[in-house]
């Protein structure tokens, strides 16, 4: 019996709805809330954006999947957490309503596990070390005995958050995403600027690097304003983007390599929005080549937050549950904090 799952994702500024049938992605439309240059996205306005877009997006998802009615869907999945509170609740509210209207089981999915399961589905990687890097999360994950264990992570902000806030300082466009625009500028960088390098064992720290580069940028702006020739520097935005990427990504490659060595794995799976970055994929590839390991990278359709990844993880959870009941409504509450290792991975028996 084929199982068709629909997944709703809205934990950050992207809202996506995806439909999957037995591992085949039938549709995966997404809409991004893009703020003006220099501005980040706030929970209340992001929630308003999702609320205004979600029902049209649902119709689009059904139409692209060639599905006439929600009655043809077997299980409704949505992001339970982690993420921003208001946007999460907006999406969960709609999904709870739909599940009751059609009397279908409902499953709350962990966002991080959504990324992992989509990565495993698309690349076919059996048991990789996972580097999950996005605007909200930075974790090194390895699977062991029914849990996705967190080997290492950021002790303050996510790497994507560091990049996004740096982009705001330079007033870079947020369209299609700040990270994409940093990547394009970095390609034209000529000078490498020494920045702090903060790996802490298995973990990483990014807020210090952000402070440091902020001092450079703001200091230069002040010097220009005061026409203080001595205090001005000749770094271009391209140089700053290039140097920041090289530093951040080298740190990520280091902790990934450490995990590979500990776990004895020879596969790296990169998931999350920052995983779209080709330079990061290149640097990871260079490290893996030295160890006879491989990098499994995915394209922006599945790297960036999307609905299909939630559908896929929900599908796995639902398929492994022989009662086919899904969660009780009380269990579908949203939580801003939701650790990756809090979920019992019932659908894997390795």
């Amino acid at each position: 019996m084929a199982i068709t799952a629909i997944g709703f994702e809205g934990s950050a500024n992207k809202i996506g709805i995806g439909i999957i049938r037995d591992g085949e992605v039938l549709s995966n439309p997404r809409h991004t809330y893009i703020t003006p240059p220099g501005e980040g996205f706030r929970p209340n306005l992001t929630a308003k954006h999702h609320q205004s877009v979600i029902l049209d997006l649902l119709e689009k998802a059904l139409k692209e999947a060639n599905i006439k009615s929600l009655a043809d869907i077997d299980v409704f999945c949505f992001t339970k957490g982690p993420g921003m509170g208001a946007p999460l609740i907006v999406v969960a509210t709609v999904v709870r309503t739909l599940a009751q209207l059609y009397n279908k089981p409902i499953i709350g999915v962990n966002h991080c596990i959504g990324h992992i399961e989509m990565g495993r589905l698309i690349t076919g990687a059996k048991n990789p070390v996972v580097l999950y890097v996005s605007g909200g999360n930075t974790q090194i994950i390895a699977y062991s005995e029914h849990r996705y264990r967190i080997f290492g992570e950021t002790i303050d902000i996510a790497v994507g958050n560091c990049l996004d806030r740096f982009a705001r300082l330079l007033k870079l466009s947020n369209d299609p995403s700040p990270g994409y625009n940093i990547e394009q500028l970095a390609k034209k960088g000529q000078n490498y600027i020494q920045l702090p390098y903060t790996v802490k064992g298995m973990d990483v720290s990014f807020s210090g690097i952000l402070s440091h580069i902020k001092t450079i940028i703001v200091g230069n702006k002040q010097a220009r304003k005061n026409q203080n020739e001595i205090k001005q520097h000749s770094y271009t935005n391209e140089d700053l983007c290039f140097s920041l990427q090289e530093t951040l990504f080298a740190m990520l490659v280091e902790i990934t390599e450490r995990a590979l060595a500990h776990v004895g794995s020879n596969q790296v799976l990169i998931v999350g929005g920052v995983g779209c970055n080709v330079r990061l994929q290149e640097m990871m590839g260079a490290m893996c080549k030295e160890r006879q390991a491989t990098v499994c990278a995915i394209d922006e359709r599945y790297c960036i937050d999307n609905g299909a990844m939630i559908a896929q993880a929900g599908y796995e959870m639902y398929n492994a549950d022989k009662t086919r009941k899904g969660m009780t409504l009380d269990e579908t509450n949203c939580s801003q904090r939701y650790r990756t290792d809090a979920v019992y991975v019932s659908w894997r028996d390795d």
């Binding site: 609320q51 029902l55 649902l58 009615s69 929600l70 009655a71 509170g85 208001a86 609740i89 907006v90 969960a92 509210t93 709609v94 709870r96 309503t97 739909l98 009751q100 209207l101 059609y102 409504l329 009380d330 579908t332 509450n333 949203c334």
Partner: protein
């Protein structure tokens, strides 16, 4: 608590009222400064907000009504029985 606000929201049918009630009661108030108590009487949803300051209630009621609005729009567009 010094301030309170009570809403009585009538729904079209008992089924709709149950759906709205079961959807909106799941998530707790994000801030601890507002208390929210919900009751379902047939097809009328009764909600009571209590807080120390009026502005806390205003914010809570505003976002609550937006949630109700969202549920009703979802029902209007996707209810198979309509």
């Amino acid at each position: 608590m010094d301030f309170a606000c009570e809403l009585n929201i009538p729904l079209l049918t008992t089924r709709h009222a149950e759906i709205v009630y079961n959807t909106v009661r799941i998530d707790r108030e994000p801030k601890k400064n507002v208390q929210r108590i919900e009751k379902l009487n047939n097809n009328v949803l009764n909600v009571r907000f209590e807080a120390e300051e009026a502005k806390f209630i205003r914010v809570a009621v505003e976002s609550y009504l937006e949630k109700i609005n969202s549920i009703l729009r979802t029902i209007q567009r996707f209810d198979p029985n309509l």
